[in-house]
């Protein structure tokens, strides 16, 4: 925020204050009409018509505004849920296109939060973010996010998330985990004896 921004906001307050006091100038005579008059005015007109005191708060059936309140609360909660869903969907916007040749590696104990443009090998570490290419998970790796392709190598893997098409899943191992969505293929294997290639490039094993 540059220096002029707070000044602009301060001017905003100044304008609002001026508007409020203009309203007040209008409000005071209006208020006088309902009895807020001076004693001298009162003496000059000793018996003005007494305005009828009427309080809808006390007269109306209390269950009606209560029911309206409950309905409004339900609508508010629905709107909040809808907003949360929209926010969640917006967070899963398509990741950046693949353009990076280098394969990134998340090492043991490392936690990385953020997107990976390209392929990544998560070797015992944690990646929280989206991967535009292939994510290879080995050695108790954790991946939270979305990837185009996921290859999981190891004994214990689970799938927690949405996979669009069942034929994209190739499960070999007993238990594997994907945390999030997989757009393309998911391969889960206890071990991979050969190599994993993506677009002709070797991703696994690492050199």
């Amino acid at each position: 925020m540059n220096e002029c921004a707070p000044r602009l906001l301060a001017r905003c307050l100044l304008t609002a204050m001026a508007a409020a006091w203009v309203l007040l100038l209008g409000a005071s005579p209006a208020a006088a009409g309902c009895g807020s008059i001076t004693y001298e005015q009162r003496q000059a007109d000793p018996a003005p018509a007494e305005p009828e005191k009427k309080f809808p708060a006390l007269n109306c059936d209390q269950s009606v505004p209560a029911a309206a309140a409950a309905l409004a609360c339900a609508l508010g909660l629905t709107a909040t849920g809808f907003y949360a869903w929209r926010l969640h969907s917006a967070g899963a916007a398509p990741v950046a296109p693949v353009g990076q040749a280098k394969t990134e590696v998340v090492g043991p104990g490392e936690v990385r939060v953020g997107d990976v443009d390209g392929d990544v090998v998560i070797r015992g570490g944690t990646l929280v973010g989206q991967v535009s290419g292939t994510a290879v998970m080995v050695d108790n790796a954790t991946f939270i996010g979305k990837a185009q392709y996921v290859v999981q190598i190891g004994y214990r893997n689970d799938v927690v998330g949405d996979i669009a098409e069942g034929e994209n899943v190739v499960q070999v191992g007993r238990r594997n985990t994907v945390l999030g969505d997989v757009a393309g293929k998911l391969v889960q294997a206890r071990s991979v004896m050969g190599r994993i290639l993506t677009k002709g490039r070797k991703v696994w094993p690492l050199d």
Partner: protein, 489 residues
């Protein structure tokens, strides 16, 4: 050499916050003095109403009842504390033990200072008079108020102030500001009755009272709430760092005040008009009225935090207060006027009046303030995003390990952060682990945003001297990251 422990806090900001609190008591003391020294314009004995003078005197005492005993207690406690500390010094008690002693006395004095206005809170009287209706109103109002607090908390799309600070603000609004506002309103009601010559018609005194009540309540209720904002701003200035956090803090104080006021109105006459007041105060006007008024007060503090000139800061805070007090006065006057006069213009049934006309009046008289604070919030969020973008792009090399480039992109997108947290929540085997994962990831984001925001303020030359330095913030990020790695999904 260790400084000699004193009763007053050593920190300048804490002393200033204490001064604000004491000032509220001084305002009350001033009203007491005014009431005591005013000339009696009505000769009670001439009215020949038995027991009227005693009744008026009793009513006058009721207005300020907790204050004189509270001030006496403060005086005694201060004298005891001063004497005890002097005695301890003479007996050569180690300085650290004397510091603990001073701190305990300070807390006790502070508790009395806060408790005295709180005792005047209408909530206490309502609880005694209508316990059943009060308890029901409490249970019904808590969810809506908590929801609104959550809403204003989530309005901070980037750095968020700690939840306890938000709750502290709401507590101040409900109890201390509520008690102070009630004192001043009651004082005016009492004072105005006898300030003017009594008209022929005794019932006309209510008109005289009503002349000033909208103004008095508008000014002093905002003063009470604004004092809470000022105190929290002084004590936690690091967290109130822009117009966004200022609005959120002010709105929290206002929501607390609205909560207390809702309970009062809903409990009246054993809940005779509870449905209407719940609808009006906790649903239709939840984010307007007190929330909007005090949000603008908070906005003034938030803007002032980023200004460099002292005169501009003071002017901005004063402007924020004037806007809120003026709008509050205007709202009270106009609602009163429309409520009493509208039956002359048209006739509608009471249900339509409650469901349609009441929200329409809120829209008309409180809507402009809501629009104002929403626009200020929107502008503030945009400025914050722009500032964070610059700060993240200009992070020093040492901080790059704490916030990598991909992480910076995630930090700047609230949707991405939310999505990742939900993914972490779903990924866990059980809800307990899911919530833990969600919270751990949220902590990491919060620590990184703290680091980035502090860097932004440093770039602007407005860093809070009491904020942790960059190395400490970096270490915090790494610690949270290590905890996240160690815990697993």
């Amino acid at each position: 050499m260790t400084e000699d422990p004193r009763l007053l806090p050593a920190c300048r900001r804490q002393r200033a916050a204490l001064l604000v609190l004491v000032s509220l008591h001084m305002v009350v003391a001033l009203t007491m003095v005014i009431s005591l020294v005013r000339p009696r314009q009505v000769d009670m004995t001439a009215l020949d109403i038995p027991g009227l003078e005693e009744l008026v005197t009793l009513a006058g005492l009721y207005v300020h009842w907790p204050y004189p005993p509270g001030w006496a207690l403060l005086a005694v406690l201060s004298a005891v504390a001063w004497g005890h500390l002097r005695y301890a010094k003479r007996r050569q008690v180690p300085a650290d033990r004397r510091a603990v002693l001073a701190r305990r006395y300070r807390r006790a004095l502070l508790a009395v200072l806060l408790a005295v206005p709180a005792l005047k809170s209408p909530l206490i009287v309502d609880l005694i008079m209508w316990p059943g209706a009060w308890a029901t109103a409490f249970l019904v109002c808590v969810p809506t108020t908590v929801y609104a607090l959550g809403l204003v908390h989530c309005a901070q799309r980037f750095r968020r102030m700690p939840v306890p600070l938000l709750l502290g603000g709401a507590g101040w609004g409900a109890i201390v500001a509520g008690g102070f506002g009630a004192t001043m309103n009651e004082w005016w009601s009492d004072f105005s009755l006898l300030h003017f010559p009594l008209p022929d018609n005794v019932l006309d005194v209510t008109y005289l009272k009503n002349i000033g009540l909208p103004m008095i309540s508008g000014f002093f209720e905002e003063l009470g709430k604004g004092a809470g904002v000022a105190i929290l701003f002084l004590l936690y200035r690091r967290h109130v760092d822009s117009v966004v956090s200022g609005i959120v803090l002010g709105a929290a104080v206002g929501l607390g005040f609205n909560f207390g006021e809702s309970l009062t109105y809903m409990a009246y006459f054993d809940g005779a008009s509870a449905g209407f007041h719940f609808w009006g105060r906790q649903v239709a006007g939840l984010m307007a009225a007190h929330t909007a008024f005090t949000a603008v007060v908070g906005a003034g503090f938030g803007i002032a935090r980023q200004l460099h000139s002292r005169s501009q800061q003071v002017t901005t805070i004063a402007l924020g207060f004037c806007v809120a007090a003026g709008a509050h006065f205007c709202n009270n006057s106009m609602l009163d006027y429309v409520g009493k006069e509208s039956h002359k213009w048209f006739t509608v049934n009471d249900t339509v009046h409650a469901l349609v006309l009441t929200p329409a009046q809120f829209l008309l008289f409180q809507g402009p303030l809501v629009v104002l604070y929403v626009l200020l919030l929107r502008r503030g969020l945009r400025s914050q995003e722009g500032g964070l973008r610059v700060a993240l792009a200009n992070l020093p090399d040492a901080a790059r390990a704490a916030i990598t480039e991909p992480e910076a992109a995630v930090l700047l997108s609230p949707a991405r952060r939310f999505r990742l947290k939900v993914d972490a929540l779903r990924a866990a085997g059980s809800p307990r682990h899911g919530i833990a994962a969600y919270r751990r990831l949220a902590r990491l984001h919060a620590a990184q945003l703290d680091l980035a925001t502090d860097h932004w303020h440093r770039l602007r030359g407005e860093a809070d001297p009491l904020a942790p330095d960059e190395a400490t913030s970096r270490a915090r990020v790494q610690a949270v990251r290590a905890a996240l790695a160690g815990a697993g999904p």
